[in-house]
Amino acid sequence: MDVESYVVSNSVTLGLVLACVWVARVVGREPIWRDAARQLWSRRRLAIVVVALYMTIGLVDSIAWKGGIPEDVVDVLPNAPLTLLDRAFLGTKEASYSAPFASVEFYGAEALKRPGQHPFGTDILGRDVLYLSLKGARVALLIGGLTSLIAIPLALIFGVGAGYFGGRFDDFVFFLISTLASIPGLLLLIALIMAMGRGTLSVCIALGVTSWVGFCRLTRAETLKLRELDYVSAARALGVPELRIVIRHILPNLAHLIVITFVLMFSGLVLSEAVLAWLGIGVDGSWGQMIDGARDELSRDPIIWWNLSASGAALFVLILAVNSVGDAIRDVLDPRTLKDSS
């Protein structure tokens, strides 16, 4: 490979951070969005802080570079690219299970390298569970984010196109939607992943391809309404090209739907991945995979519970926070409230 994957990951991370800054500036400029952001903050402070925390963890786990590994660390390759998060947990690997805050190994009583420093214990390979759970944040954000980036543009292109231009394209989109809707989602998902081979990208593509239909229907219906708006007719009478009308007048009116859908879709996708992990075709390092792995450990005696609890709690808290923010966004951006305020 010419460009190593950690370079790509670094660049994408940088791009995302810049995109966030840009979005924040746009939101700050447009009174309607600024208002909405303010209301959102006053309603869901805790949830927003939680989501921001997860994002920070994901960010910390996305910036990687090579070198700088101390001599005495033996469990990583000397020239492996390590993220900030990896580096924070360097050398915490034990030989086997440790219970939370234990000072000796869980089975047998050999002394640990880091007694009392594993707040969530370690897994069967001796990896720190807190570390693994934190690493899961990046995977979850990747699944939710990347998949939405695939599904939402797909839904917009098909939905807005069908609604705005109608005719043959509408028929085609309708056919596509009906076809997709008549195949059981999970089966299609599994088939797609099998066809593309396992891996983060193929899971995201498969999830994306199977999850755009609902939003597509919504945007199509909404566009049908919007295209009859007087100012769209007025724009046409002024000779504004169709594509420009879509970009200037239709898409901004779908923005609130895009935001709401993105947030609500996000948590659904992270949960879907957990299901896939349980079927053995999830993304490496996800909480779903940890939960799946912890199944066997529950049958051990004495029971190993911290693995499951940590990954389950990490997943649960993120989903809860995202859904709670999503609900508030829906309240704040609901078209009816938007119209009242303007």
């Binding site: 447009e30 109608g166 007087d230 100012y231 009478a237 002024l238 504004v240 200037r248 007048h249």
Partner: protein, 331 residues
């Protein structure tokens, strides 16, 4: 005055259960440069569809099925999509009834006008802004500089309509189609907007096709009047002659219902009934279901066009008979 727009035998139809319903049927009129032609008729008579047909903006699945729309001799129906786009807003601009909803609520009004300018002229931001400011001043928007950055909801209905007019004028169109430009406004604001349109027509020489259901406002502005009923023209005449000597029973009915033209204290007689819906239009004279002067052939045979004088046209059996008889006797 030169002939700017010539509409001949225009037919616009929507598909219906029984084939196609012609909601604009055989409409012909001319618009000379610098002239104000009023297109008058009750709501539902096809005025807006006529205007949209000219711009080739009839909403799907409707379409123009026959006719010619010649702009300085070239038929707009033959124009390519991109040529047509240059005509829209470039040579023919249109303003609509509802200034409230014709502006994008999330974009500042100045930016919307600047965008319209940018569509037809390659000029920079600063120039576009300066030109927008001038336009705002020209259409009588007070404090134009400050209004440039206002959002539509911060402006009154009258100001919004002025912004729409500024937007329509931004590219110096030869023809302005104003579809019920004052219907949604208060009476006093209505008068101001009409005065503005009149000034613009005088100062810029813009030809105006003024669409209205209110014969009352015709008096202030129009040079000629075309009266439309149920998709057909019923009478076309110079304003003065139409108001003083209406020939068609429908025109007379409309005139009787204008408060300003009747003696005070008299209860205004209305034309009984309503415009029938397009699939219930009679075969003969479309007005025959409501006409007080209806006689034998009216419901069955469509009246021919008659020209009582060289600049008047009317479609009515009664007029037909009375104007033809003397000639017949002379023979």
């Amino acid at each position: 005055m030169s002939r700017l727009l010539e509409v001949r035998g225009l037919q616009t139809a929507f598909p219906s259960a029984t084939g196609e319903t012609r909601i604009v049927d055989d409409v012909s009129f001319n618009l000379d440069s610098g002239e104000v032609l009023a297109l008058v008729g009750e709501s539902g008579s096809g005025k807006s569809m006529t205007a949209l047909s000219i711009l080739r903006l009839v909403p799907k699945p409707g379409r123009v099925i026959a006719g010619e729309i010649k702009l300085e001799g070239r038929d707009l129906l033959d124009f390519s999509v991109s040529e047509m786009r240059r005509v829209r807003g470039g040579r023919i601009a249109m303003i609509f009834q509802e200034p409230m909803t014709c502006l994008n609520p999330v974009v500042a009004v100045g930016a919307q006008v600047m965008e319209a300018i940018g569509l037809h002229d390659q000029i920079g931001q600063v120039d576009a802004r300066a030109r927008t400011r001038e336009l705002f001043a020209e259409v009588g928007i007070p404090d134009p500089e400050a209004r440039l950055d206002a959002y539509p909801h911060e402006l009154s209905g009258g100001l919004k309509q002025r912004v729409m007019i500024a937007m329509a004028l931004s590219t110096r169109p030869e023809i302005l189609i104003a579809d019920e430009p004052t219907t949604a406004l208060d009476v006093t604001v209505q008068a101001q907007i009409l005065a503005l349109l009149s000034d613009l027509q005088r100062d810029r020489g813009t030809a105006i096709l003024l669409i209205t259901h209110d014969l009352g406002i015709v008096n202030e502005l129009a040079d000629r009047v075309a009266v439309m009923y149920a998709g057909r023209l019923v009478e076309v005449a110079p304003r003065q002659e139409l108001l003083s000597n209406p020939l068609h029973p429908y025109t007379r009915g409309l005139l009787r219902s204008i408060p300003a033209l009747s003696p005070p204290g008299v209860r205004l007689p209305e034309i009984p009934g309503v415009v029938p819906s397009p699939d219930h239009w009679p075969n003969g004279c479309r007005f025959s279901t409501r006409c007080g002067e209806r006689f034998e052939p009216c419901a069955e045979i469509f009246p021919e066009e008659t020209a009582p004088t060289s600049d008047r046209r009317v479609w009515c059996h009664a007029v037909d008979a009375s104007s033809r008889d003397p000639e017949g006797e002379a023979l």
